[in-house]
Symmetry: C3
Subunit: 214 residues, 3 copies
């Protein structure tokens, strides 16, 4: 049941750590905005950085990826220190939103691929990719008492779904992963990027065909 | 440690999927009432449909029941599509509340039986039944930022507790499951139904013997 | 992968159950303050009593400690009955806060030691100790819709971190556990106690060097 985590080539190991760092930073900066203390900030960095992958690993019965990894927890702590000691204006622009979009797309693909490697069907595999990309941020928002991304009409989970579905579809069709992985991640990133750039939102229930207030 | 999930006879497989569908619908309809988009609606359908059983399976160290099941995730997505495209007035009456009562009672019994099959004691086994019946709805409400069933005095968890306790007791006493399972589920359903029909609530602390405001 | 839980000597078994009881009581009393019914109160007692250890066990891939334990769940139910039937003035003083400080320190140490015993690195092992001490209370507050300890500047998680770090450090250095365990727990308790006694708080972001309102 417990197979080995697929050995990631060097570039993916780097992307993986980069994605964790970006998500950890988004957690730490939420704590900064809420004017919390350093311990809370470090806790939010960890939860946001590893939350999505932890939920995925628990669901697919894999060892939780960061618990025995010598780098991931120290990386989240380093990110927390960076957020605490750096000037807040570093993070005021949209840099973080764009970095988060990269992390979201990469995580959705990596999460899907890992789930398929554990023998899941394409549908549940893609679902695990979506969870990997989104659950960390959802847990962060619930713990902070903020409305989570689930409650906002932004194209966020949708972009993760696109990347995860393409990754699952391409893998099932037997396409080479050198094509499928970057392509799926790019598609998710472009959709999320378009949503950021033009403030796109998906229609909410009741505005779709019943008219407002229906 | 990881035994096989008990093979359910056909009727129980059907009841199981029916219970998932009812809970998924309650999640999707909460998203509809909150005027969310389809992705959120599908996420709520899945979380509510499988949340309780997932928590149970993680706690008892069983493979999470829906992750390798080819039907459960697509069923939740189908329910989400139904909720999105159907006229909202279909769901305005008390149909859903009553269907939820059926799901609650059935899940409390099935969750208890599975836990006992994994070697739990009657007390923790019954607790797992209660968790199976109630945790999906609690997670749904927390994610939506709504007061959860835990915070309301309705007889809901109490009904699940009755069904689970009867299922655990009957199983421990060696009574035939053809009697215990339907009997326990019926008792839970009748109690929940009475609470719905006559708006019964259980006394809250401070109203029980100290008088209001004490 | 699934090793045996380390056999605790009698005194630690007692401390372990005492810690569970204290945390369970804090959950039950929150439900009392919110004027909830007995079922909610029992649920809160269980979730708070076993929540932190459950999250730890799931993350380190250990069997969840209370699920097959014949005493823990009945103990939480007994605590819930005590909270329900006892006069509320019993719990009005600071008794509970101090008992909670004992539980926090003991849990942070026991959680760390168990995680190290499962082969974790000192950093993730100490993190598991912090989670063991704090996660039950966080889950309790999220379920109750209260601002969690994460959102308050009290020295709480910090005290757990001190105890866990000392326990991990001492264990890695090979010091005798008769010294490390009580010493680490005492240090965490003293820090938490000082915070309770003199209402200490740790500085929040923005008050640290940028001045208020920055």
């Amino acid at each position: 049941m417990l197979q080995n985590v697929p050995a990631l080539p060097g570039i993916f190991r780097f992307l993986d750590l980069a994605g964790i760092a970006v998500f950890a930073l988004s957690g730490a900066l939420l704590a900064v905005r809420l004017r919390r203390d350093f311990v809370t900030l470090a806790f939010f960095a960890l939860v946001t950085g590893v939350g999505g992958g932890s939920v995925r690993d628990l669901l697919i019965d894999a060892p939780v990826f960061w618990v025995r990894d010598p780098l991931v927890a120290p990386l989240c702590l380093a990110v927390a220190l960076l957020a605490w000691f750096s000037p807040e204006r570093w993070w005021e622009g949209r840099l973080l939103v764009w970095a988060d979009a990269v992390g979201l797309a990469a995580y959705a693909v990596l999460g899907t691929v890992k789930a398929l490697d554990y023998g899941l069907t394409p549908v549940t595999g893609a679902l695990m990719g979506v969870i990997t990309g989104c659950a960390g941020g959802i847990i962060r928002d619930v713990l902070a008492g903020q409305p989570s991304i689930l409650m906002r009409p932004e194209i966020y989970i949708t972009a993760a779904t696109l990347a995860a579905a393409l990754a699952a579809g391409g893998t099932v069709l037997g396409l080479p992963r050198e094509v499928v992985w970057p392509g799926a991640a790019l598609a998710g990133f472009v959709l999320r990027g378009a949503a950021i750039r033009w403030s796109l939102a998906i229609p909410e229930y009741g505005r779709k065909r019943n008219g407002p207030g229906s």
